[in-house]
């Protein structure tokens, strides 16, 4: 049998781990498989396994499945979007919809060769589910129990030196099992098998302790991702950053998820971004914010147009514009070294206002886009002037030395 594995997501950027596992499982059963990322298969296939991801990509996934139906006799649809909203796929008819994990593929070693190139990283889970049930998060809908995956280290790609962990809450693991994971990571690092790892979904700052920070010391965890999604993390987040820095995490960078457009207010978002700017200024290296705009879990709006309770279309639009204008790949960071704007806090205040009230007023200013881009251009110009002057001064000094 020939099976087409299709990743039906326009927005996902990481490897489709479930399809790599399903591919390995089918291969072990003697079937031929081929992977297609967000496109129709080429050639004859007996069945297709379609993996979906984001709910806002559902319209595109449905369009792809509609075009797939005349080509393949049997189509199975699974993944996050199909688990959350199976009914929108059911009406297409003649599909096998699978919700949740596929138990027979869970313990399979992913077949990275399906990617058609050497993978840059392995993907692993040491746990599934989460101990928390945050109302903005889809994890409780997808993985309702918190379980451990003790054999994760046996499923890594042999040559990929970076590991991306998809754990939702690694620190919630009981300390013994967690210390075992750390020991595995240390062994893998010492042997040179891995050179860096990343807990992509973030580490729960509320569960960071002196003991855990000390256990992680010296490991190539980079970036260090926390979430500062609301008041519940205030204080815990700052403490967790300080603990990690105290244990030597000063070479990489910190990246903090900042949820907004949920039940938060603009003032609250301003505060959370400012906290990271203050930590950047205090420690002199990048502690970036990664604003994540909330979109209802069970929404299939491809425009992602939801407006939170304390936001308006104008304030939401203006804040998105500011984030896109200042961030690199979504990360909002401020110059830790300082320059014309002497500190990271000064830079943050230049673009977002001196305080919460000014920030709110800016967000309500209909011509903010224009002003914001002018501020940015103006600052870039002033910085360029500073740099030219510095270069000229340096040249003059060199001339004096030469003469």
């Amino acid at each position: 049998m020939r099976a087409a594995l299709i990743y039906a997501s326009r927005s996902a950027t990481l490897y489709p781990l479930p399809l790599l596992k399903i591919g390995a499982m089918l291969k072990s059963q003697g079937h031929e498989v081929e992977l297609f990322i967000n496109r129709l298969p080429r050639g004859q296939f007996d069945e297709a396994w379609v993996s979906t991801c984001f709910t806002y990509d559902i319209p595109a996934a449905i369009a792809l499945i509609r075009r797939l139906k005349p080509l393949v006799a049997r189509i199975r649809v699974g993944g996050i979007a199909a688990t959350l909203l199976p009914e929108v796929f059911e009406h297409l008819g003649d599909l096998e919809i699978h919700r949740g994990l596929l138990p027979e593929a869970e313990d399979v070693v992913p077949d990275y060769s399906l990617l058609g190139h050497e993978p840059e990283y392995s993907i692993a889970y040491t746990t599934r589910g989460c101990v928390r049930h945050c109302s903005f998060c889809m994890v409780p809908q997808l993985e309702d129990r918190f379980t451990h995956e003790p054999h994760w280290h046996q499923r890594l790609h042999a040559r990929a030196q970076r590991v991306l962990f998809y754990d939702n809450n690694w620190l919630a693991k009981p300390i013994d099992g967690w210390l075992e994971d750390v020991a595995h990571l240390r062994r893998l690092t010492r042997s040179g098998r891995i050179t860096s790892f990343d807990f992509n979904q973030g580490i729960d700052c509320r569960l960071m302790t002196e003991e855990r920070a000390a256990a992680l010391e010296g490991l190539p965890l980079n970036p260090i991702r926390f979430a500062f999604d609301g008041k519940q993390e205030d204080g815990h987040y700052q403490k967790a950053v300080r603990l990690m820095i105290a244990h030597g995490f000063t070479q990489g960078y910190f990246m903090t998820y900042v949820l907004w457009n949920f039940t938060d207010t603009p003032e609250d978002v301003y505060y959370r971004i400012k906290v990271s700017a203050e930590l950047t200024a205090e420690f002199g290296f990048q502690i970036a914010s990664f604003p994540m705009r909330y979109q209802p879990i069970f929404s299939i709006d491809p425009k992602r147009g939801y407006v939170g309770k304390h936001w308006t279309p104008l304030t939401r639009r203006n804040f998105s514009m500011m984030v896109h204008g200042l961030s690199t790949h979504g990360e909002l960071s401020f110059n830790p070294r300082g320059d014309r704007l002497p500190t990271a806090v000064a830079e943050m205040e230049y673009y977002f206002g001196r305080d919460e009230q000014e920030f709110v007023r800016m967000l309500n200013y209909p011509k903010l886009r224009e002003l914001f881009h002018r501020r940015r251009a103006s600052m870039a110009y002033l910085r360029a002037q500073d740099r030219i002057r510095e270069d000229q001064e340096q040249e003059q000094e060199e001339e004096v030395v030469n003469t």
Binding site: L368, R375, A377
Partner: protein
């Protein structure tokens, strides 16, 4: 003398003098709304035909009373209309009762705007809200709300002061050791917009 251009086509061209109002005191035209309409006509010219009902040789206005009022005032101030005639479309009605019913139908707004749809629309079209405030009257949106709730004088002043800054050409000197790399990034299409490219490249070169 300024000429008001015609920017639409009606089924016929008629003289403003021939139009007789039919709506009586149904609607009022506040000085503020009149000013907006005049600004719009000055900016865009005549963009929509007048609708009228012909009755006993008279042309009774069904839709366009406010425009006719404003245009007449403008003519009194020395403006002229391109070709001296305005585009118009004739509406059929059995009698005055039905013609007046047509006035109410043409005045109806069945579709609803809301803040969200309005901002998405203006955002997509790249329309300037301040500019719109001077010529558009959309009671549902309350365009003035932003100006009423907050004072933007300082932001307006800064915005005006910085105007033109986007047009400045900023020359970036890239260290020689990065030239090959930057060329490769460009060749790979990295940074689909100048903004991304500028920031990304500058960051990697240690300029930011």
């Amino acid at each position: 003398m300024k000429t008001i251009p015609i920017r639409c086509t009606g089924s016929e061209m008629i003289s403003l003098d021939r139009l007789t109002p039919l709506q009586g005191t149904l609607k009022t035209l506040s000085p503020e709304a009149k000013k907006k309409l005049r600004t719009s006509i000055e900016k865009h010219g005549i963009r929509f035909p007048i609708f009228y009902w012909r009755h006993n040789g008279s042309m009774m206005t069904v839709d366009g009373h406010a425009r006719v009022t404003v245009l007449r005032e403008m003519l009194g101030e020395g403006f002229t209309i391109e070709g001296d005639l305005v585009p118009a479309d004739r509406i059929e009605a059995r009698d005055e009762r039905e013609a007046k019913e047509m006035i109410l139908i043409s005045s109806s707004r069945y579709g609803r705007l809301d803040d969200r749809s309005f901002f998405e629309f203006t955002e997509e079209a790249g329309l300037d809200i301040d500019e719109l405030m001077r010529e558009v009257d959309l009671p549902e949106i309350m365009l003035g709300q932003f100006h009423d709730q907050y004072s933007f004088d300082d932001l307006e002043a800064e915005n005006a002061q910085l105007s033109g800054v986007e047009d400045a050409v900023i020359q970036i000197v890239i260290p020689r050791k990065f030239i090959k790399q930057v060329t490769e990034w460009l060749a790979d299409g990295e940074g689909s917009t100048a903004r991304q490219l500028g920031r990304g490249v500058m960051k990697r070169c240690g300029l930011l």
